[in-house]
Amino acid sequence: MRIHLTVWRQAGPNVGGRFVAYTAEEVSPDMSFLEMLDVVNEQLIKKGEEPIAFDSDCREGICGTCGFMISGIPHGSQPHTTVCQLHMRKFNDGDSFTLEPWRAKAFPVLKDLVVDRSAFDRIIQAGGYTSVNTGGAKDANNILIGKDIADAAMDSAECIGCGACVAACKNASAALFTSAKITHLSLLPQGQVERTTRVLNMVERMDTEGFGSCSYEGECEAVCPKGISLKNIATMNKEFWKAMLQS
């Protein structure tokens, strides 16, 4: 297969960027999208040119490191698939794609397709945990949790923090990411003690980091590689208003 790429190239954080066209030759259908970019980069390096910078690590869809826009869609057009798991057999010879980094005020571009997502860490720092120190935990089976509740908590906890939800949102809202953690912990007995302060602090931090508001378009859910449900945002809002009334 031959694939045509138009790629955002930007040398550093505070400089302008531009689109550059590349062609990937002899693309095997068994390659992942990132393996195709590896091959393009190999060619660039051999020519002494700087390869396209993009993030990736585990390449099995769980670390959340990779991700960029493929023709306007975060991680590309396959549902529930990170770009490292997107395989070229889903495409046709001669296809063209435009690759861009996540675009969001809270995710400044560092280089080419790489952005700074440290704002997500700071949202977790605002309360995405249970305040228990190491040692002194009681026997695990003293906390009984129904299978349905544990499964629902797991559905939310599966978020990989890749940032696709922010990139897909016209408001660059981090509501899906933030609500997934709030929902996970609010469902479980262990998360009850700090339930009120957690939601208030995390939502506030989400706002101060420069993420936009949620206007329920559902773009985030549509592109989420882990299928995190929009229901999490409803839960977050419910938790938020309950907390506001209580505090």
Binding site: I45, T134, A153
Partner: protein, 637 residues
């Protein structure tokens, strides 16, 4: 130099308790005056950072990823062992200890392993308190499964994403400390040298991977939790960013490297599809609980698997190992897969694969139960291989997965370099020559949550360190050393990419130092590696400069280190002429083709001391003493 493992005296079951009591403590008010560097934020690093932060130490945490949450522990699928005996099926701390020692083929320290088994029960309690959503029974209790060669159900799991959930638990605890100010987090930093002052590990040199600037950090002690070296084989199940650099640079500063030839090959990975392949994907070992492994009975049978009748299939693991069947340990399963493929009975286009079949499980349990257990794994397989495991069997082949070897540490997890502690996969201590499934998560968290808080306090309380700043000459010397290496990499301006050279190294390692090793193959590797290294330094291409984000420069540095480290791995494998666990020397096997240990000559840890690149390292032996368990020939028949 004699290696002192500092194993406490007394009965095995009491060693850790009495050691904790004998260890010195640091007064709570004084802890913030002590700075600790922790490199790596996987299960070991993140759990250590949060625990030490909670205790009040001033913790500096570093990782190469853009967030600590992305460390490679996140990819672990199957589960974590703990001797809870919740299933009333005969498990105990002693049994977990025994299984781990035996599974490691009697090449691990008894005292360390016993402590690991003891800590395992606390880990589950801790993780549940953090809100880790482990799988549950309908009555609300924790669910368990049997895993990788264990005859009891002691594995706790969170769907097929146990590593992710445990890591996020540790990460969240760590973020809580970051918010409190007791942990300072430095993401996008790569440790490139260890700084020694008066023989003590006192700091590190890191490169800021975004700005390219060199940075110096000083501390009272340094902990490395930087993972394993599986990517020396190029293709492995490790993340593409995993590397040996931090451990290797510490080795070059004097830390001994122990048992590097103990590498683990995981039997169930998705086979290689072509040269473009950048990594291999593991399919959890838990699949072998319900999947049946088979190949056609006849050589070169290329029929569609559905067209091969039962009578013409060889369920070779069930046939050869009736009591363990498909659940034999990883090394045994891997070697058997290689053997049937070498015999010409492999399946798939390359002939380098065996079937893992769920047809019977689906018939017995129903589609929904199988989907509930393995749904996400089946989905993952379908994405990568383009085939649906519900209707046709998975194709599997072994791949490098974990490395049991690592920097030598004593019972306190301290290396032979004073103040340098090593945690998790980066150390060598607990898994011997073969790690059991679901034990890596256990070890990483045991080291970080429950061992290092005690042993590091003992070190800090009992050690005088000179007051220094990063202006000390030792920092300048180390930074210059790092800078020179980077200058050298940028100056070559050759025509080969680091990836191409890495791929060549990986091929040499897989062919010669892989699943089956011989005197000749290892000597061949030892002849080829220095040549590749020479070629690297004459012909590598690293475009761009160092003063910004340059992933190719980072990668080139890691490949350069692998080209030095690979030689040590091969030499260790050559020196250890016995077979044990994951280290299989063809010259040393039983008549049935199983690994044949040589206890008279090799009941020891091989700890290597660096003497210079291309120079033969010095070998130090730490004898292994078995007081509780008597080494026997492993048998899974």
């Amino acid at each position: 130099m004699a290696l002192d493992s500092k194993i406490p005296s007394g009965p095995l079951a009491d060693k850790w308790d009495s050691h904790k009591f004998a260890s010195k403590l640091v007064n709570p008010a004084n802890r913030r005056k002590h700075t600790v560097i922790i490199v790596g934020t996987g299960l070991a690093g993140a759990s250590a950072a949060s625990s030490l932060g909670e205790l009040g130490y001033n913790v500096l945490s570093f990782c190469i990823q853009d967030s600590p949450r992305r460390a490679h522990s996140i990819a672990a699928q199957g589960g974590i062992n703990a001797a809870k005996n919740y299933q009333n099926d005969g498990d105990s701390v002693y049994r977990l200890f025994y299984d781990t020692i035996k599974g490691g083929d009697y090449r691990a320290r008894e005292a360390n392993v016993y402590r690991l088994a003891q800590s395992s029960v606390n880990i589950i309690d801790q993780c549940v308190a953090q809100g880790v959503p482990f799988a549950r029974e309908y009555g609300g209790q924790l669910d368990n499964r049997s895993f990788g060669g264990a005859q009891v159900s002691r594995t706790f799991y969170a769907r097929g994403q146990t590593g992710q959930q445990l890591l996020l638990g540790a990460y969240q605890s760590m973020q809580r400390q970051v918010a409190k100010g007791s942990v300072k987090q430095f993401a996008n930093r790569e440790m490139l040298d260890l700084v020694l002052i008066n023989g003590q590990a006192r700091g590190i040199i890191v490169r800021n991977l975004v700005t390219g600037q060199m940075e110096r950090y000083v501390a009272d002690a340094v902990c490395l939790a930087t993972g394993g070296y599986g990517t020396v084989y190029y293709l492995s199940t490790n993340a593409v960013g995993s590397n040996v650099t931090a451990a290797w640079r510490a080795h070059k500063r004097g830390a001994f490297f122990a048992n590097p030839c103990f590498t683990q090959i995981h039997p169930t990975c998705i086979p290689v599809s072509g040269e473009h392949q950048s990594k291999l994907t593991l399919m959890s070992e838990s699949l072998r609980n319900d999947g049946r492994v088979w190949v056609p009975k006849t050589n070169g049978d290329k029929r569609n698997p559905a067209d091969i009748p039962e009578s013409e299939r060889d369920y070779y693991l069930e046939r050869k190992y009736p009591s363990f069947g498909n659940l034999v340990p990883r090394d045994v399963a891997s070697r058997n897969a290689k053997q049937v493929c070498d015999d010409g009975r492999g399946v798939g286009e390359s002939g380098l694969a065996v079937y893992l079949d769920f047809k019977d499980a689906i018939q017995r349990l129903g589609h929904d139960v199988v989907a509930g257990r393995y749904g996400n794994l089946f989905e993952m397989y379908e994405k990568i291989a383009g085939e649906d495991p519900y209707t046709s069997p998975m194709r599997m082949y072994p791949a490098i997965h974990y490395t049991m070897g690592g920097l030598w540490v004593d019972y306190n997890l301290m290396s032979n370099v004073q103040g340098l502690h090593v945690l998790g996969e980066a150390n060598f201590s607990d898994h011997g020559a073969n790690r059991l499934g679901a034990s890596a998560l256990m070890q990483g968290l045991a080291d970080g949550y429950f061992v290092i808080p005690y042993t590091l306090a003992h070190y800090i309380a009992g050690t005088k360190v000179e007051k220094v700043t990063t202006d000390h000459d030792a920092f300048k010397e180390a930074e210059d050393n790092v800078q020179q290496r980077i200058n050298k990499l940028l100056a070559v301006k050759g025509s080969k990419t680091p990836r191409a050279l890495h791929r060549e190294l990986g091929q040499v390692m897989w062919d010669n130092v892989g699943m089956a090793r011989t005197d000749a193959s290892l000597k061949d590797a030892l002849a080829k590696i220095p040549k590749l290294r020479e070629e690297f330094w004459q012909n590598v291409s690293v475009p761009g400069d160092q003063n910004n984000l340059n992933k190719n420069l980072e990668y080139a540095g890691r490949v350069a280190d692998y080209l030095e480290f690979a030689e040590l791995l091969a030499l260790d494998a050559l020196t250890r002429t016995e077979s044990c666990g994951g280290h299989f020397r063809e010259e040393s096997q039983t008549p049935e083709g199983e690994a044949q240990r040589d206890d008279d000559n090799f009941t020891h840890v091989s700890a290597w001391e660096f003497q210079g690149v291309g120079q033969k390292p010095n070998l130090h032996k730490e004898p292994l003493v078995f007081e509780e368990v008597h080494p026997s020939q492993r048998s899974y028949k």
